[in-house]
């Protein structure tokens, strides 16, 4: 007997606004100073009136457009009512029957270079406010819980997928693509440590029966997973657990309601959470404090225009235009739009996309890490690096010499310019000597002075050429080793 794994995700993404969704309090991550970013609106004090943050709505629509969703021309706000200490009003302002967007999709590349794609349909994306944060007493002595409401009222987009994912790995890849997409269009920093991207996973199995039919196991929702790796681990564990349980009990979706589990990263297992006696009854109703929002086709077209080239399109273009591997394209695109622009200037300027990619993913990346810089503050501008690499493509500099110049540009006090490259090359005598006459003379001299290695080479000992090439290189500073090798071997083979 075998089975299919069926996974749907609910992802909460924090939008990158300065102020909260319905009031002017800051959205800054500030756990060290609890309860300093609150006001009568986000505390839910009587008489306070929420007013929608225009930027939160704009970023939400951009998010939905990037997910290929339909944007509703008319959307409204509802109260989702439940009691929990991190929810000061006793209800969360959310969207129920008329969300601002619905019916989109994301195509997830599931094989690095194979091009296999899983289309994940998006059921809906709606806007809502975040709750505060509870901190529990870990001593087990039942001390008070502490509540910090700094986060209460932070704008969130909740993205709900159809159950279209078929493995734990696909779920992780989907989340990685989603993060890349949303950071790239600048709607969220998706910082998982700070809770800017959180995920619930709905998991069950479709077990193949001998007669060809399939039987579904009860659905389990794994709550509040805060890393991609944990998402993968939680689903892997859940699949194993449900398969064993099914073999023992033969329980199907008809025998048990949906249940909720948590994930313990330390043990790598999911655990049962306390079930409420009654099914959740949120008694949604329209929020009378907030009026509806309408969106025109022109506004949607404007926002769509602002999206620019999305990461998936850029990845494909880098493959076609610059012959990059999916991996190299991914590394560059993952660093954001500014990094991608830098790469393109270097690639266009030096005329060799692969070489540009090698430098960007190795030399530049390493220097940025070591110096704690971003590409925006990197002291070597893209056009200067392009000029340096062009000298390599034109066989004016060896790669080794180019690295030396690159290091000198970074170490030097002076601004990194193309003139500076020229000066460093001249000072250090790094230019490749194109003088065939000088090289041939040195080769003749080296051959005359080294009868033994020459005889060895002629007797078929290829590696004997190495010592001879070294001597020629020392004699003609700045000669291209490739050229020396070719000319020397030609001479020896005469």
């Amino acid at each position: 007997m075998s089975y299919d794994v069926i996974i749907g995700l609910e992802v909460h993404v924090q939008l990158q606004t300065v102020s909260k969704i319905f009031c002017g309090c800051s959205t800054a991550f500030n756990p060290d100073q609890p309860n300093v970013q609150t006001c009568p609106v986000c505390l839910g004090l009587p008489g306070a009136l929420p007013v929608l943050n225009a930027e939160a709505f704009r970023l939400a629509v951009k998010t939905a457009l990037a997910l290929n969703c339909q944007i509703a021309g008319f959307t409204k706000w509802d109260r989702k009512q439940y009691f929990y200490p991190d929810l000061p009003k006793g209800y969360q302002i959310s969207q129920y029957d008329l969300p601002f967007s619905h019916d989109g999709h994301v195509d997830v590349v599931t094989e690095a270079d194979g091009g296999a794609v899983r289309r994940v349909r998006i059921l809906r994306a709606h806007l809502e406010e975040d709750a505060g944060k509870n901190m529990h007493d870990e001593s087990g002595r039942g001390r008070d819980s502490l509540v910090d409401l700094n986060r209460a009222g932070t704008p969130l987009v909740e993205i709900v997928t159809h159950p279209d994912l078929r493995s734990a790995e696909e779920a992780r890849l989907f989340l990685q693509d989603l993060r890349l997409l949303l950071t790239d269009i600048g709607v969220s920093d998706c910082n998982m440590q700070e809770g800017s991207l959180r995920c619930d996973a709905n998991v069950n199995l479709h077990v193949h029966q001998p007669d060809g039919s399939k039987v579904a196991t009860p659905i389990v929702e794994v709550k509040n997973i805060n890393s991609f790796r944990f998402t993968e681990q939680a689903i892997l564990h859940e699949v194993e657990r449900q398969w064993e349980l099914y073999q023992k009990t033969k329980q199907t979706i008809k025998d048990a309601p949906k249940s909720t589990r948590g994930f313990d990263p330390a043990r790598g297992v999911t655990y049962a959470m306390r079930e409420k006696e009654e099914a959740a009854d949120y008694r949604y109703f329209p929020d009378p404090d907030l009026v509806p929002v309408t969106v025109t086709d022109e506004q949607i077209a404007t926002l769509r225009g602002e999206l620019g080239e999305l990461p998936a399109a850029r990845r494909a273009r880098y493959r076609d235009q610059y012959q990059l591997s999916a991996y190299d394209a991914g590394v560059i695109i993952d660093q954001g739009r500014e990094y991608s622009r830098y790469f393109e200037v270097v690639a266009e300027g030096c005329g060799d996309g692969k070489q540009a990619a090698n430098w960007l993913t190795q030399d530049v990346q390493r220097e940025l890490n070591e110096r704690g810089l971003t590409i925006a503050t990197f002291p070597v501008p893209a056009d200067v690096l392009a000029d340096l690499l062009k000298r390599v493509t034109n066989k004016q500099l060896t790669i080794k010499a180019a690295r030396e110049v690159f290091g000198a540009l970074l170490e030097g006090e002076e601004t990194a310019t193309t003139a500076r490259i020229e000066a460093i090359v001249a000072e250090r005598g790094l230019a490749i000597v194109q003088d065939d006459g000088a090289i041939d003379a040195a080769i003749a001299d080296v051959i005359a002075r080294n009868p033994k290695p020459v005889a060895d080479f002629k007797a078929g000992k290829q590696q004997a050429a190495g010592a001879l090439i070294g001597q020629v290189m020392r004699a003609v500073k700045g000669a291209d080793p490739q050229q020396v090798r070719e000319r020397l071997i030609a001479k020896l083979s005469e």
Binding site: S26, T38, V51, L52, P85, G142, V147, Y271, P292, T294
Partner: protein, 96 residues
Amino acid sequence: MSLTSEQVRKVASLARLELSDAELSDLGAKLGQTLDYVARLNELDTDGVEPLVHAIELSNVLRPDVLAPSLPRDRGLANAPRTDGKHFLVPAILEG
């Protein structure tokens, strides 16, 4: 039409209200009257009438994304039954 004690108990528990048996039956009758009153709306013919999502015919009330002063912490915590000077304190929450 009176609400049953079971119905009242469910609504009360959703609102975190603890009611005595006497209150349950008393409220059952009173809530029933309220529902009967509202049910008179059912007499209207609403065929072809668009559902109303808001009583005020207004839309797109938005504010720019700019900071406004927050309350000083002691003012924000002022109405809390208990605090530690930094947080709201609530009885231990059980999870898991």
